[in-house]
Symmetry: C2
Subunit: 334 residues, 2 copies
DNA sequence: GTGAAAGCGCTAACAA
DNA sequence: TTGTTAGCGCTTTCAC
């Protein structure tokens, strides 16, 4: 049960070479005669030597570990991002330290400090909001930080996202085109920049195009989960809305069930479009028409971007926008 | 952008004490005069000193990092386990290196090696099967490994689970009691010990109690996902089954939708019970009656167990079984 | 192509 | 209560 017994020193002795040479073969350095390389490799194999990454990290000042702060792994949207991150991290031989933040500023700061203490080579940050406190933490980090599925109003950090505003315009337009005059906009906290500064504007853009006045009574805020969507159903039904665009799938699932339970038939009496195209969209009845977005890819691209930053390579663009789409299912009429 | 500049040495110099003393205050060692402690703390504050966990890990041979191997973060069941793990890990000041394995033996072995190379203090392993290859890897680990939501046929590793066999007996009995003679057993790969060695036996136990012969034609294997459940619907409908117990929620969601789409009304024509009580159970229509299990707690308890093992404390029990329950929803008749 | 040696930043005896 | 001094296992100049 005691850790690590065979060291680079043992290998050097057994192979009758210096530690430096062993280090070279372990790290694939070309400057080793192929015959010594073979000899060393044989000893490594025989002794079952496994390099100590901690010692290596201390000596080289690179840990090949990155930090990932996630609001909650249990949330499918973020889990999907995380999966994209982990896959390309593995591809580049990085490990991931994952930390749940619950979007609490206190926790976010604390996990950032932990991560930095562990000497991660970079950080990918997910969440719903970037405020001064956390922006400050980014500044204190001596390593690159990239945002995945998150926009900083200040645009200080590299990020990868989709065009939330345009996507919301598309979805709203789809409904307006069908003749709806009163389309509800159902979203999360409007203090979140992505909602207020992007989605809402996209919704308004569409209204403007159809010369429909913006009506605050048609915007509803939930907290992104199923229950809040379900509870919103009553208010939505009571409003004069005949359709809705929803910012995320869990709320949309709640809404469609809530509406159905309240005797409102979707899509006959009420049409709706959601935003994430997650598996939930096909589980609900009716299935949910949705904006499509490459969530996994957002994570993957963010991680790829981070590897470049860690290698001090130039970035072609600081804020990457991945393409989105739309798919018709059963919550809209043909 | 360069890492860590102020070291323990800088603090010592500024505070006019030795490194040892600084180390003591940082680690909360009691043997420091409170006035020197204050002095040192002030300097730490002023300089913005942040201990280097890598150096600490090398010197102390403890990294306060644990490895978590997970089949796929994107799977809600495992994500929930991971959340439980992370929460108690944070509570004990451990960080988590998360690695997706996709249940591929190759990947599992590889991530185990990575983790061990990083000198993690312990590992929590999740998956569906423990075979010789991976058992060997556990043996090679010089740190404790605990299984969460996974049983080893050999019972070599500490683990935490629920009584899958009894739970399945309960669910099956619920259906048998209602008068069903032909209850289907729908599960994942029967090569998985948890299915073959526990759930199936539990199903058979219930049948035996009701003197109903076991019929292989009533057992269906899927691969745990929505699609496979949906596709199984046709075969299930074609069989003489009038009810079913299902091993996981995604398959159950697929099955209920598949059945409904095929004109079979649940629960009127067909009753079913699922196993995880996840949010999916309330999203589907009808909502799914389910075995309830404390998934988050399984992760949490596994992590707690690991902390004990890492401290070389005695374990009261090697294989912990957490209580399960049952909840009636709409996929069974009252 | 290979080796010697000086750290990387910290902890943990052991002294004092 | 505090300081001194070895390391921890590796990378990385710098010589040879």
């Amino acid at each position: 049960m005691d850790k690590q017994t065979v060291t680079i020193y043992d290998v050097a002795r057994e192979a009758k070479v210096s530690m430096a040479t062993v280090s070279r073969v372990v790290n694939g350095n070309a400057n080793v005669k192929s015959e010594t390389k073979d000899k060393v490799k044989a000893v490594i194999e025989r002794l079952g030597y496994r390099p100590n990454a901690v010692a290596r990290g201390l000596a080289s000042r690179r840990t090949t570990t990155i930090g990932v702060v996630i609001p909650d792994v249990t949330n499918h949207y973020f889990a999907e991002l995380a999966r994209g991150i982990d896959d390309v991290a593995a591809m580049y031989h990085y490990q991931i330290i994952l930390a749940n933040s619950d979007e609490s500023n206190t926790k976010e700061v604390q996990v950032m400090e932990n991560l930095l203490g562990k000497q991660v080579d970079g950080i990918i940050f997910m969440g719903n909001i970037v405020n001064d406190v956390i922006r400050d933490e980014f500044k204190k980090a001596d390593v690159p930080v990239v945002l995945a599925g998150l926009l900083d109003e200040q645009e200080e950090q590299p990020s990868v996202n989709i065009a939330y505003r345009a996507a919301m315009t598309d979805a709203t337009t789809r409904l307006l085109k069908a003749g709806h005059k009163n389309v509800a906009f159902i979203t999360g906290d409007l203090n979140h920049y992505m909602n207020k500064g992007h989605r809402l504007l996209g919704y308004q853009d569409a209204l403007a195009t159809y010369d429909i006045p913006y009506d605050e009574k048609l915007v509803f805020q939930g907290n992104y989960d199923y229950q809040s969507g379900y509870e919103l159903a009553a208010a939505v039904k009571a409003s004069n809305a005949t359709a809705a665009v929803v910012s995320n799938d869990e709320m949309a699932a709640g809404l469609v069930n809530g509406l159905t339970d309240a005797g409102v038939s979707v899509p006959d009496d009420f049409e709706m479009i959601t935003s994430n195209d997650s598996k939930l969209t096909v589980i609900t009845r009716p299935q949910l028409s949705s904006i499509t977005q490459p969530i996994y890819d957002i994570g993957a691209v963010a991680m790829r971007m981070l590897t470049k930053l860690m290698n001090r390579e130039e970035l072609a663009a600081n804020d990457i926008i991945l393409p989105h789409g739309y798919i018709d299912r059963e919550s809209t009429k043909k």
